[in-house]
Amino acid sequence: MTNSWTDIKNADLVWIMGGNAAEAHPCGFKWVTEAKAERGAKLMVVDPRFNRSAAMADHYAPLRSGSDITFLSGVINYLLSNDKIHKEYVRHYTNAAFIVRDDFEFNEGLFSGYDESKRSYDRSTWEYKFGPDGFALRDMTLSDPRCVFQLMKKHFAQYTPELVERVCGTPKDRFQKVADWVSSTANGERSMTIMYALGWTQHSHGAQNIRCAAMIQLLCGNIGIPGGGVNALRGHSNVQGITDVGTLTAAIPGYLALPTEQEPTLESHLSKRTFKPLTPNQTSYWQNYRKFFVSFLKTQFGANATPENEFGYNYLPKLDGIYDCIKMFDLMHQGKTTGLICQGFNPLMAIPNSNKSREGLAKLKFLVSMDPIETDTARFWENHGEFNNIDPAKVQTEVFMLPVTSFAEEEGSVTNSSRLIQWKWKAADPYFESRTDTEILADLFVRMRKMYEKDGGKGKEALLAVDWSYKDPLHPSVDELQTELNGKALVDLKDASGKVVRAAGQRLATFGEMRDDGSTDGCMWIYTGFYGPTGNMAQRRDNSDPSGLGVFPNWGFSWPANRRIQYNRASADPDGKPWSEAKKYMYWNGERWTGPDVPDYVPTIPPERAVGPFIMNAEGVSRLWVRGLMADGPFPVHMEPFESPVGNIVFPKLKGNPVARIFKHDLAALGTSKDFPIVGTTYRLTEHFHYWTKSVQVNAVTQPEFFVEMSEQLAKEKGIKHGQMVRIRSNRGEVKGKAVVTKRLKPFTIDGKTVHQVGLPLNFGFIGETKKASPINGLTSAIGDANSQTPEFKAFLVNIEPIAGSVA
């Protein structure tokens, strides 16, 4: 989230799209009900289904799953063509004024630089034009035909309400009301928050969905202000923490990059990332990348990281490609994987195309499942009839189940969607032989290191170089681990005058203290300060809110630097005055930037220096146009899902995302709308938590059995009765479930054609207390987003038929 959960109460308009906060984030959703009840805020929900959030909404608009870009582009077009934008914000805080290279082109859905054989773009033409001083050219009047603003107007002009209706199936009046309400916040007085989740990300063009949302918020001036923001709602209590800490396969902790094969030396890695400012006076905070990266190396390799050996850079693995889960399972399916360790992971359920996953798992030599509960994956080899049809005699995979303590049986921190790190204390003793993840991994590491010491092997040098100097190597303490995350001074740190500002051994208070000469460590710069010199900030439980704006500055610790709203300098105008007195947040008091939050800015830089509020960007401003960062274009375009009931109405030549990666097996497994005319989409239910709580009796009571939601019209067409068992098939597999026939789903009219959609909750499997069901991902396709590789779970094609004689 750019903002925080508690900040949602400041919103005047809440827009939930690509998510279902009431269903999946009921506790956070309370701040929406707060905004509504106490501020009179309006809530609008755009979703293929009339869902639990819609039940709470003042306005609901339906759209066909997978058509979000068109809907959002329609809103962008409405804002631009009616001049309902926050002009000053757009001019000064976005790159609207920047001039784009003359050779950039957009043609029939494709941007210049497309290479069909490689399914990728050469992005060099998506660059700004630069002046002789090396800085990007701008036209602050926004009138240059090659400026981002003018390119944008042209690009989005075709997304009219009529087109939105044709592509998305959204009735024009319902769309119009959304656009109207959005535009009511383009003024600095009123703010809108956008809340989204996997309904936007789980598409082959998911990142572009979110780009659209960011662009709308920037046009309205809703970024960096109370009650604004683009707010990603994370799906687990600690999934923010887990991505922070670097489980993304191409990242190390704190969103630093894992080196690639093209970066043989430390300097070659760092020079690509320490971005120089693109306009005068800008902060371009990533210039500090080397400090964070070197501190990370110092934590990782300790005394073995020296200036002479590039701080152990050589020990780090170098990527030859990305290894996301789809890739991992494709390799596994090809028989190229020996073993898999699943730590709190149930991939048979979580990964698309379960049948492929099951075949892949059966080709492993060993599988380790570290989990507090028995997972379907750990028992993939068991025959559960139609729900997991496998011949155990043919599976040679050796499966180890290592019982792990649950969250309540160990102390530690969780980081929520607000980037808020909160401590939890141990509430109960672990059951039986279960051990904490740390203990298991430490034991594994220590044993492996002994084996390497004795027998040697590939990567021995790196493994032995790892700093494992915990007091008890088998039980690294919470204090030791937190100190590693936070970072400390390794020698006395002195300021320019020679004064010691941080004594050797002391923990760092902010990442601003990190250095690139090896005198500090700290493996996760964004968390620095949460375990600073004054103690464990995550344990703070002061719920006072002096400003009344939901900041709660002394509750837990919000990374980075305990900042609750990111880009908060943008809550004031270029002169440093708040856009709105009612939403006065971060402003210049004549001497420094002040307000209830920690400024996302150097606090002493006066407004007249014109340093942009988006200090992480080399431009100093936000990006309506993204240069090279997106694989699939500097602007969003309408792309259909890879399995779509209709062709691309806007750009007939585009079949899916033109740069999404597709493996051979998955391409062959795509179905057509002839055999599978119905759109399927998966989602979770509020009664369950992913694939875990199906093992919990009370949760099973509240939703006991897999079902499929469909409209009354589809049920009638197919002769399906309420509560009847039905079969749902895709080109990859089939599942069986009870029919929930509902008014909450309605058929869409897409370009004159009736398109049905069914909803498939994902929480059910063949292990646990709920009635047995096949993994829902038996239906889904293993094609992911071109940028994030997030699988396209939200739009695929199925067919459905009643199973005779079975009505509950």
Partner: protein, 312 residues
């Protein structure tokens, strides 16, 4: 935000009310206490309820109940009805509002309403099996319950359920055990959106006004409070978007009262019946006293003998 009941202390607390605060006791007469407790109420704001069922789970867990894992029958309601273990249940209704053209998904948390004039208590034949405290709580006392099911017939809301295991009747207690030590009900504690709030009845009415104003501003002209006077008001109240038509909320009764049949059964019939029985006994006694016994005479025996003479 309605200030929630603060977290409890971990130290033992003496109960804040008990036997001495009963204002009604089934099949018994009680002397009303001189000092009445402040009436409490749970306010369920249907317009804020997302149907997450956290209240259902909290109820099961706090009361240490185990419900069976059922099946899906084509709806979100699970279990499908209240049971002896499920004392509160989310009921989902898909309502097409013809005036606005909007679909509304109405989600109502069903459970005991804790009526001021409780039909269950009126119907109960077992002395002390159902009690009413002066703060409004209507509670079942299970060691006195005989399992006759009269409370089910007495209830205007169809709430109590007989247990298959011990044949006693069960329903929401308004967490009488939690309230006694100054906490709010478990369901209210678990509710993530403040769709359930708890406080004194006056506070709840005020809070409801605040909510109704908001709903009216959003076009729900008939938004209102459900505190049915027919049962003397309730200590569980609803804020409804369409208070003029409570029946669209999964059959919430419109202007409920204790059924006249139950009133007749437990009222006039009882006295008339006992009087009739007494009257018959008295009339018999009087008749015997006045008319004396009807004896067979010698004459009768002789007549019989004469009639049978010569027959053997």
């Amino acid at each position: 935000m309605f200030t929630p009941v603060p977290n409890p202390t971990t130290n033992p607390v003496p109960p804040k009310f008990g036997e001495q605060d009963l204002i009604r006791r089934s099949a018994s007469t009680v002397t009303p206490p001189a000092k009445r407790l402040t009436e409490v109420a749970k306010l369920i704001d249907v317009s804020k309820c997302i149907g997450c069922k956290a209240c259902q789970v909290a109820c099961l867990q706090w009361n240490n109940l185990t419900e069976e894992v059922g099946v899906n029958v084509g709806v979100y309601d699970n279990p499908h009805d209240l049971t002896e273990n499920t004392w509160t249940l989310m009921r989902f209704t898909e309502y097409e509002n013809t005036e606005t053209g909007n679909l509304e998904w109405l989600i109502r948390k069903d459970g005991c309403m804790h009526c001021a004039d409780p039909g269950c208590l009126k119907a109960c034949p077992a002395p002390g099996a159902i009690v009413q405290y002066s703060n409004g709580i209507v509670d079942f006392v299970h060691d006195k319950c005989i399992g006759c099911g009269y409370c089910i017939k007495g209830c205007p809301f169809n709430i109590p359920r007989l247990s298959k295991a011990d044949s006693k009747a069960y329903k929401c207690t308004l967490c009488v055990d939690r309230l006694a030590v100054g906490q709010g009900p478990a369901c209210q504690k678990a509710c993530p959106t403040q769709a359930i709030v708890f406080g004194t009845k006056d506070e709840m009415k005020q809070w409801a006004d605040h909510r109704i104003k908001d709903l009216k501003s959003r076009g729900f002209a008939n938004a209102g409070l459900y505190d049915p006077p027919g049962v003397g008001g309730t200590h569980v109240m609803y804020v409804l978007q369409h208070a003029d038509r409570p029946e669209i909320y999964a059959g919430l009764p419109n202007n409920p009262t204790i059924s006249p049949i139950v009133e007749a059964w437990k009222g006039v019939t009882k006295y008339v019946g006992l009087a009739a029985i007494g009257a018959f006994a008295v009339i018999g006694f009087l008749h015997h006293t006045i008319a004396g016994p009807n004896r067979v005479t010698e004459e009768d025996e002789k007549n019989a003998e004469r009639l049978t003479e010569g027959r053997s």
